[in-house]
Subunit: 509 residues, 2 copies
Amino acid sequence: MKNDKSSDEPHKLRLKRLGIETGQENVIFMRSDCHICRAEGLMTYARVLVRGPQGEIVATLNHVIMDGLLPAGEAGLSEQAWKSLGAKEGDPIQVRHLDPLTSLGKVRAKIFGHRLGSSDMTKIIDDVVSGRYSNVHLAGFITACASHGLDKSETVALTVSMIGAGKQIDWGGSVIVDKHCIGGLPGNRTTPIIVAIVSACGLIMPKTSSRAITSPAGTADVMETLAPVRLDLSAMRRVVDAEGGCVVWGGAVDLSPADDILIRVERALEVDSEGQLVASILSKKIAAGATHLVLDLPVGPTAKLRSKEDADKLENLLYETAVNFGLATRIIQSDGSQPVGSGIGPALEARDVLAVLTGAKAAPQDLRQRSLALSGALLELGGAAEEGSGVQLAASTLDSGRVWSKFQAICEAQGGLREPPIADYQVDIAASIAGRVTGIDNRRLSTLAKLAGAPVSPAAGIKFQVHLGQKVQTGEALMTIHAESKGELDYALDYNKSVPWIVEIEGEI
Amino acid sequence: MKNDKSSDEPHKLRLKRLGIETGQENVIFMRSDCHICRAEGLMTYARVLVRGPQGEIVATLNHVIMDGLLPAGEAGLSEQAWKSLGAKEGDPIQVRHLDPLTSLGKVRAKIFGHRLGSSDMTKIIDDVVSGRYSNVHLAGFITACASHGLDKSETVALTVSMIGAGKQIDWGGSVIVDKHCIGGLPGNRTTPIIVAIVSACGLIMPKTSSRAITSPAGTADVMETLAPVRLDLSAMRRVVDAEGGCVVWGGAVDLSPADDILIRVERALEVDSEGQLVASILSKKIAAGATHLVLDLPVGPTAKLRSKEDADKLENLLYETAVNFGLATRIIQSDGSQPVGSGIGPALEARDVLAVLTGAKAAPQDLRQRSLALSGALLELGGAAEEGSGVQLAASTLDSGRVWSKFQAICEAQGGLREPPIADYQVDIAASIAGRVTGIDNRRLSTLAKLAGAPVSPAAGIKFQVHLGQKVQTGEALMTIHAESKGELDYALDYNKSVPWIVEIEGEI
């Protein structure tokens, strides 16, 4: 900020902490009758530049029109803004209008169907990461990209911009393997198992995972019920140096911070489009230093990818973008017709992971098989197994107990293995007729788990108990809803009643 | 809201007024440790249903994490939410999760290129008007409609939905004339003049005008510097019954309230797309009871419509949609190459209007000619003049002084004619070289006027002093910036320095 007349002493206010959490959009609370609002003509919802002793932030202005909350000469900040500014009680601040954001002109161009060049994309993402976009602007950018799609060069440009806006980890030239599943299949929690298998086999897999976008659980949410995942970069390095693998939350190591900001708005819109998906995945992987990547694309009528055609299209964009960055990449299309394992929700999925790792009798075999298939591909791609023998190596290592030992060691290194929580409220949903299971709606199942409280309430979700083709009796439990509060349990039960079916049963004649 | 267990006594909080203005998105402030947040698993930024003694609203949750602001057992509301709920200090409220909005699925379908049917559109607009959409959802809807455009039947459906969501005025079968300019031309403030002319000639023109969307002034902003414009429906009727015409703010009579909500978000995005523009214009006109409509589409390189082709496309969609609703419609494409009149900003434009109405020597002739042309079209369309003689009737009535009398009578009936304010700060922008004016950038000129404070500061804006083709001397004033505060004056001056040109002058050799 230049030192103009608006930064003279009379244009200062003192900060008062109010303790209001407004979400990720920074908010400043100022009296409508304060000298700055009057001198600068600042109205409610104006976007302003706030300068404090430690730096500056952009915030949305909320006027305070009554006495009591703020004494004259003081201003408040939302908790997020307080943190971003590094504020202390009583800090002097200056406030002025935000200059027009030139990058918004590029967002408008995209809305009206123009392509975004790489410098356009960089400007947009820089403004996003520095907090210059309000929620309205973020939603406009995300919607425009989803509406028109991003072509290959735009996807590469978005990926480059997202990598550049955060930290990048340098592993000094080692082979670094990574995997990603595009999701959409409830309970498909292979990652913690795969990390343990491939690191037990000698590969290096420093896994940074995300939290749920629109699903009942992300890998970071699940892993957090088993061990701490909020590790910073140096803590993550220590774990990987010691054990060859980790499963931490990507947001805590500041890889692709733009992704974390965009994801929150994508979640509110429940929009997760192709180009953004590719940039989101690859920016995180490349920033984390991956050199060899296996991608899992589940395909099924109620999965994220509904048809082979959609899957081929996404596979193509993923592959070409990954190759553009020099990543050795293998993409696997898998069965996406029904949930994997029995748990849906952070703690319930964690229990499935533990069952597979410990070789429990009740361990879900589908989760085990998928984990072995993907581990096998990674072992081959990363050079730890001959072509065609990866799955076998993965299975023998898992069955030897070495994978479970490795997983425990990783959890200990991350801060200590812990027991996933158990929900206070558990209610069975029973079959209303006898017959054969002919359909499972993954999307409704996810909604049900989310209404029950997942992923915010870690113990909440669904324990799913049937598979396609299975015979069930009248009154037999198809699933159990787990909830941490009565209110959430009721939402889930109401929803279950309101939809035609989540599990389709065809009566046998 | 059904009477479930979550509405028992322990689930109530008492309202405390905090006096925080958050803009149009309702916000509820709740202690993060309150029993409802804990029982219902409510996180910051959750969308919740708030029920009070007078009704219910949807709001976004902000947590309060420190003592002091809210005592235990109390909750606060943003001022907008307080008003919408009809709240009183100490009112008991209940709060619960908002059920998933099914209409958002339709917004997502539009994002991914599907058409919206009429029932989809009605559901979306009903949810918009009842406050169920957050700013993120509104931005997603607006951007999706702008990205893919709306076809004719979608535009009709949006118009129908927007009309249905508000009040409609019934004038008992009379011929009701109306006009609209799509804007984009600074200073083009013909409406108050036209209303006075056509009502002086015996037609009925109950004009409801809007405030600025992305421009330095809307007709309602300008008229408000001359007379009160916040009239409710019965007050508006009294004015029209007495004088045959009025110029009031449409927002106060609750015509097409969806439009007012969408416009605020369109303004933040600076997006104003074809289908939404048509629905916005026609929903207001039809809800206001118009039967005969003249539309002005200025076309020029820096106007809203840049080419004849764009204008023809919009004209077509406007015409076909209007005809669908049985409106007698005439559309006029006009010169949009430079500003009209000399004032840009509410009070400055009002002074131009007064000059034309009183026949002042310095009255801008371009504003006079445009007003006569549009009035002539309305007089012919409404049956008050023979085809081809409308302009002549308009001119003779204006020159007779009867139009100025009529305008004064209308202002008095609206609550009293008043003097437009004058800005404290006025600074000339001079020509840096001598030569001929070869270009005027309407968009930059609008930005300059907005940075100077228009329309929020009514006296702010630009007094523009040259026309295309005019010869200027070095140091001659091209325009004068008017501002109500030093800060806004500085923003405008900084902007003027930062752009290559607003007025292009070609030096003469």
